[in-house]
């Protein structure tokens, strides 16, 4: 039991990183029906932007954080304007390839500027441990979980209570009706990309301030697709629930299965979850729509 909780609790906590990345996916998907494969690179760039501002330019940490995330918002807007807007109306295949091509280019930029070694990140939080249900968890994890959940909650509020958020929900529901009711689709699409880039970037900063930042961290972007699928492609609440669940599954699998398969099961268990969900419940647990199927 002790051991089980020892895997479960950090898993649940670190799983909130999947929630944050998935919220980025979902924000973009429910507004524009684009699945952004470059999400992992946004995640990395969030961390690298903070690294650049705070460690390389030696700005005070709060100013550095503010500038870094302003930069992420700019990245989101530029990405949308110059790569995704020309693709409106193109087949799904072309749009997937667009975001994949984008991820390759962004990866190139990351490697070019920061090389592929592990860089230590500035941290906001004290090290140390907290006792929780008989399991000692690093304090950083607790902060990390708390902030992730706050972001998720804020986003739910944003989509359901604010004007821009409601416009996005309207556009997601029916883009033509939304447009004829005076929603500027171009503006809210840009806004969705900016929001997604910023929250994913925040997630990147938070996790990488624990682990240090290196390009392989971007793999989390694709792994969180499992969370997006399991939650349903539009459901924010679903992502809040499924993120920790997938995180816990990963940790438990790593804890109990690794000795039998020779390690590294953590890297693929999310994809197994993804395939199982796609085969048996492709609309996810909390999704809106019946998905395209034959």
């Amino acid at each position: 039991m002790e051991q089980f909780l020892g895997y479960l609790i950090p898993g649940l906590m670190l799983g909130t990183v999947y929630t944050v990345i998935s919220l980025g996916f979902i924000t973009i998907y429910r507004t524009t029906q684009v699945l952004n494969m470059a999400q992992g690179e946004f995640f990395l760039l969030g961390a690298y932007a903070v690294f650049m501002m705070v460690s390389q330019l030696n700005l005070p940490i709060w100013l550095g954080l503010f500038l870094a995330f302003a930069l992420m918002a700019l990245l989101g807007a530029v990405t949308e304007r110059f790569t995704l807007r020309p693709m409106v109306g193109q087949p799904v295949f072309a749009i997937i390839l667009m975001t994949l091509g984008l991820s390759v280019v962004l990866r190139g930029v990351i490697v070019l500027v920061w090389s592929d070694t592990i860089l230590p990140m500035p941290s906001l939080f004290a090290t140390g441990g907290v006792e929780f249900l008989g399991v000692t968890v690093p304090t950083q994890y607790v902060w990390f979980t708390g902030i992730s959940l706050v972001i998720a909650g804020a986003l739910v509020y944003f989509f359901n209570r604010t004007k821009i958020g409601l416009m996005m929900t309207a556009a997601a529901d029916d883009i033509q009706v939304a447009q004829s009711c005076g929603v500027s689709v171009n503006k809210i699409t840009a806004a969705a990309w900016m929001i997604a880039a910023v929250i994913t970037g925040v997630g990147g900063f938070l996790l990488c301030s624990i682990t240090g930042v290196y390009p392989e961290m971007g793999a989390l972007g694709l792994r969180s697709l499992a969370v997006v699928l399991a939650a349903g492609m539009e459901s924010l609440a679903g992502a809040m629930i499924m993120g920790p669940v997938v995180g816990a599954i990963e940790m438990l699998a790593a804890g109990y299965l690794d000795p039998y398969v020779g390690g590294g099961i953590r890297d693929i268990i999310a994809f197994a979850v993804l395939i199982i969900f796609l085969l048996f419940r492709p609309q996810g647990l909390f999704g809106w729509k019946i998905i395209e199927r034959v």
């Binding site: 091509g101 020779g262 395939i275």
Partner: protein, 351 residues
């Protein structure tokens, strides 16, 4: 297709069906084959290496072209299917001690069966969702190949001896060139003929509108399965060639990025076109070589990025080229070529 050169008419059915129609076309084709045959006697070892890579990639990309280009099923696991071909070859030649020529059909067959296993998912989902399944397939296949130590040799992989016929061994670049070239020509011939047969037309019908295809009597599930099988078969053969060429079946080469390059090849060349796939492979492989050569030059010019430009430049250039093609020429190089050909045929009335 609709526009033939002026003065060329069909008198018989066989003429209508012919891929190569006129005498000048036959002569050009023969000269082209001759050029390919004498090429290794003049080229340097480096150029030969590039040519072999191109030939092998045409084989593997043709498999993806059948799945994605003809049937419209997005596969992001092409390099993993190639890896299965390579490791099958490794297991058959190293662990079982059989000949490479026995491994050849099995490399295709096992890759094809694994492809069908994941392709069955395409019955239930399509479009975006199939792309996600195949991403999963890419990681899971490579994980299994990496961790099944007793069979695949794990991190080190299996080293492959050159194949031989009698006492003649395919151990030089020149002999490997001919091996790849012949395989490549056979695969191109098959793919071109699949494309215009009943099967190929069924693939295209499934891609363009699967409901309409079903109503017309095309068995959508059977043809999707067949498409994955044939496509992965070719890709597996590509893996067979590749592991013979580099002399080892190991996991490092077959990454997700490599699978993305395969899709990039299709986009750059032109989806669903045999000629387009060939053009795409030639373009992408030459561009890769150029970026590798340019890396140090740029690094010397701008010392601040000397250490990282080598890794970053191929990503930036090829990724950028993919983006540019998607925005400005989504139908690929082959569409440009058609335009040139048409204006040549209509001259002097072309615009």
């Amino acid at each position: 297709m609709a526009l033939r050169p002026s003065g060329v008419f069909n008198y018989r059915y066989s003429q209508d069906m012919a891929v190569i129609r006129t005498k000048p076309q036959w002569i050009t084709f023969a000269l082209f084959l001759l050029a390919l045959a004498v090429f290794p006697f003049f080229a340097s070892q480096y150029i030969m290496g590039v040519a072999i890579t191109i030939a092998i990639y045409i084989v593997a990309a043709m498999g993806l072209n059948i799945i994605t280009g003809f049937t419209g099923l997005i596969s992001m696991a092409n390099s993993a299917f190639m890896a299965i071909g390579a490791f099958t070859t490794g297991v058959i030649t190293v662990k079982l001690g059989l000949s490479h020529w026995i491994a050849l059909p099995f490399a295709g067959l096992i890759a094809g069966l694994v492809g069908v296993f994941f392709g069955v998912a395409s019955f239930r989902v399509k479009g975006l969702y199939l792309a996600l399944i195949t991403i999963g397939a890419q990681f899971i296949i490579m994980y299994v190949l990496l961790h099944w130590n007793s069979l695949t040799g794990g991190v080190t992989g299996l080293s492959i001896t050159p194949p031989n016929i009698g006492s003649f061994a395919f151990d030089s670049n020149r002999s490997l060139y001919f091996l790849s070239l012949v395989t490549c020509i056979v695969v191109v011939y098959l793919a071109r003929n699949i494309a215009r047969s009943k099967v190929g037309r069924a693939f295209i019908a499934v891609r363009d509108n699967d409901v309409a295809a079903e109503v017309m009597g095309v068995n959508v599930r059977a043809y999707k399965t067949l498409s994955f099988f044939v496509g992965c078969f070719f890709t597996g053969i590509g893996g067979w060639l590749w592991c013979i060429y580099i002399g080892v079946a190991s996991v490092d080469h077959y990454t997700l990025l490599e699978s993305i390059w395969f899709l990039a090849i299709l986009v750059i060349g032109g989806m669903g076109s045999v000629l387009g796939t060939i053009m795409g492979v030639v373009f992408v492989e030459i561009l890769k070589e150029v970026t590798v050569l340019l890396g140090p030059v740029v690094g010397d010019a701008i010392p601040a990025i000397r250490d990282t430009i080598g890794t970053a430049l191929p990503l930036l250039v090829l990724g950028g080229v993919v983006l540019a093609f998607l925005i400005y020429e989504p139908r690929g190089l082959v569409h440009r070529w058609e335009i040139v050909k048409r204006s040549y045929r209509l001259w002097p009335y072309s615009r």
